[in-house]
Symmetry: C2
Subunit: 340 residues, 2 copies
Amino acid sequence: MATNKTRRVTMSDVARRAGVSRTTVSFVLNDKPGAAIPDETRRRILEAIDELGYRPNAGARALAANRSGWFGLITEIVTGPFAAEVITGAQSRAWGDRRFLLIAASEGDPAQEAAALDQMLEHRVEGLLYATTWHRAVTLPKVAREVPTVLVNCYDAEGELPCILPDEESGGHRATRRLLDAGHTRIGFINLDPAIPAAIGRREGYERALREAGIIPDPSLVIPGWATADGAYTAACELLDRPAADRPTALFCGNDRMAMGAYDAIKERGLRIPHDVAVVGFDNQELIAAYLRPKLTTLALPFESMGTKGVDMLAALAAGQPLDTHRVTIDCPLLERSSV
Amino acid sequence: MATNKTRRVTMSDVARRAGVSRTTVSFVLNDKPGAAIPDETRRRILEAIDELGYRPNAGARALAANRSGWFGLITEIVTGPFAAEVITGAQSRAWGDRRFLLIAASEGDPAQEAAALDQMLEHRVEGLLYATTWHRAVTLPKVAREVPTVLVNCYDAEGELPCILPDEESGGHRATRRLLDAGHTRIGFINLDPAIPAAIGRREGYERALREAGIIPDPSLVIPGWATADGAYTAACELLDRPAADRPTALFCGNDRMAMGAYDAIKERGLRIPHDVAVVGFDNQELIAAYLRPKLTTLALPFESMGTKGVDMLAALAAGQPLDTHRVTIDCPLLERSSV
DNA sequence: ACACGGAAGTAACGCGCGTTATTAAAGCGC
DNA sequence: GCGCTTTAATAACGCGCGTTACTTCCGTGT
């Protein structure tokens, strides 16, 4: 079978054209310190590179230098806004180090996850980022230990791997504080499944903020709901249908979809947002938060920051430097819109 | 500088362990046709691989075989649901050929796009997928011609490159047809910017469906709106505030965010969805469509299919086969929910 | 006895590049 | 002229693997 591809330009071609040896070209390309290259020679070489349209072969370079330049990123789902943000953050940060990101999705399937890991190791990734869509504990296959690994939005059940997590407690605190500052004293909290870390942390923050404001938390104002619009709708109805004196004037929702359900319950009762009832969401899902009417004030999970921080840590690990902290938490910023 | 990395296992290690030559190991690994390897020898080799935890070096293999195994995928934005779907489709399809996807985002910046392209070419991608977030014409840098390229959700202004596009016309037809089948005869159409391909194609489909049903399209029912919830809200108000005889009983919206705005206008007027006014959206943005109340019936842009089809075409091109069609269109499926 | 043909396996080259050790030339003091 | 240092550049090896051409061994037919 004849290969129809025209042979690519190699470094030897450049060398011949410039009338020097291949080694000299390599020195110029890599700015080899200690190599004395006269400007004239350098110019000739760069000129030859330009004329021939030479492009270094990254694979060959990696092989010779024994540095692949890859970092791997494994997520559960590529679809969905969260993974995309992590990718964005990691990608842009990696670029700065002239590294490339190898991205794969496990789709929640252990077999696929193992396959992805295999591929990554065959490509000699110098580090691995493992990201989940929701904050929880995970257990990685043993092979992941062959290479520096950092967990993003999840933590190691065995507690050995470094991880980066959103600061749920300060998030809950910040959201509640925002509502307190707006004058609300009875704040309903439609929480996520109370067993997961996000729900636990945020509730702690919620209660701390109340206490700091001299308010004793009223457990009846906290309702765990299904993490859907419908679930939150039901929960919101329950809170809003109480006698006026008992009714919350603000709702803190576990995520933006739930806030969406709460909006419906509020509007159905002829109440106005934020005048009669203020709402704060969580997750900052642009498609929801920015297009609800009125636009939703919400907290963002710092996925992009977590991605960049992840690459930061990997870069350190890959360089053999020790980590200062094995468990990094990142704040959830408040995004002001119009629902408070 | 001492390298602290323990040397990885190579094929020679395996060969030594199994008591054969490196060549034989290679033959076994690649199922080389024509090579006669007795079962006993094969077994010894596989055993050695297992015991040593050997993993082929993808980079070295690519170099020797002169086949990188990479396809490149350049998108405008990684964040956002569309790119993610393309990635998912392309990724899963590529996997089948034991290929990996190199993903980069241009972020709308030509410099960044060029940099990404450079990197891809340095990594010797065997093909390039270029995807946009919305259907339109693009012009690629010349370097993209160095390698087989397929456009996804966009087309070449010069008309040279093969492309994959959503079938907007049949989408508009399908949406309208669905509403006709539900008994509606006055169907409002809140369209996108009328200058873009999506708006043009869908309107053609809309009008064809009406004519096929024996209805003469009423231009006053077609309103181009800003592609936002607010814009569509305004447009919907205009349509709904007409005298009852003139008022549409169904709205076909240019995208799901716009449908969201239409919902608000409808609900404000005390009208019920779908009983008084039916709504069909476009784009199937899960976060909106599936969580609106009632859930939105909408058409999906076939991003995932376009991604897989793109890799299909690239694989053919990379293998030197000619393409049957240079311009492929893919249907936009209708997703039934509860708004019709 | 010989040639022969297939089975089993190997030596050796090349892929494109980084890097070390080495050479050749040039400058300098005497 | 001789030694010595700095500058400029190269030959040669290795990274880990695919592949081609070649060798060795053994059974078979005549």
